[in-house]
Symmetry: C2
């Protein structure tokens, strides 16, 4: 099938839920064969995440309770954009400083990922942050998390062994390990 | 803060939307400081994805239109469980055969990831599949996709360069490349 023939076209769109975080839609689309189907999906403002690597090779990570999976998870710092057109680098610098108190002198984009392209338009841009100094943390009032330092090699081993289930942390740590250890970028 | 003190406790739960794919809930929880907050999230049945590596080092991937992001994406084969307690390996074998016609003689789990732990309980188990032979494809009636073969090295380079936004494909390809090239597992 030619690529342009795979496209689905919107016939109608209905807003199901307009929450604080989740914005749920149900659209009717025409399929490549002319039939119609429904598509349930989320619209998300977008987000950023950061791998902050210290001079000695340690990475700043957070331990935070995630209600949907009922577990405390190890994650790299991350946060939603304040608005859809916010500059991603500025958002990453804000989130890193607020959550960990870290300020980085050197930033590098690691690209974007879609966590769930089948049912969400969320895109998360990943950053590598280096040349780090510290200022005061400013966590959001309802954000409870512990900041820890873990050697990059140990974090990579944890990801490879399946001990870090968070998607953004897996992708960004694997990329940073590849960049710093194999000079692939 | 002690880890057990990070936990949030459910005070009440409300079903917002019971769709075909999306099941949306809004709960009220008590926070570590005793205040209460709302948590919007999805319940998902769970899924599997597969990196099928052929004898010559090619990987079977799919090109499929993803309506939420309005793009044709390159993805490894994947699919939802048929039921929450379905055996993940059997589900992976079924999805691989239906979507690509491939049957693998050697399977290895690559661990699990949570695509969006902040607002979804979805868990995706990843598999590496080898010793592949082919039978007939049986795609779902409303599933339109093209199957392609891409060398693992090229797929890895595409992921590192940010040309493959799909999360499951990024994680699983980075893991398989690490396993096959650096013998890290």
């Amino acid at each position: 099938m030619l690529e342009q023939e795979l496209t689905e076209r919107q016939l109608s769109s209905k807003e199901i839920f307009d929450g604080r975080i989740l914005h749920v839609f149900e659209d009717t689309v025409s399929l490549p064969d002319g039939k119609s189907a429904s598509r349930e999906y989320l619209r998300h403002i977008g987000a950023v995440c950061i791998v902050p690597v210290l001079e000695n090779g340690d990475v700043l990570v957070e331990r935070q309770y995630r209600y949907p999976v009922a577990q405390v998870l190890t994650e790299i710092p991350a946060g939603k954009l304040d608005r859809r057109d916010e500059d991603h680098l500025l958002a990453a610098q804000r989130e890193l400083r607020e959550e960990t108190g870290a300020v980085a002198g050197r930033w590098q984009s690691l690209g974007v990922f879609y966590p769930a392209c089948a049912y969400s338009d969320e895109a998360i841009e990943m950053f590598l942050a280096r040349d780090i100094t510290f200022t005061a943390r400013e966590p959001d009032e309802d954000e409870f998390l512990n900041v820890m330092r873990v050697p990059l090699d140990e974090l990579y081993a944890d990801v490879m062994a399946g001990r870090i289930p968070d998607a953004k942390t897996q992708i960004a740590v694997l990329k940073v390990y590849s960049i710093l250890h194999h000079n692939t970028l």
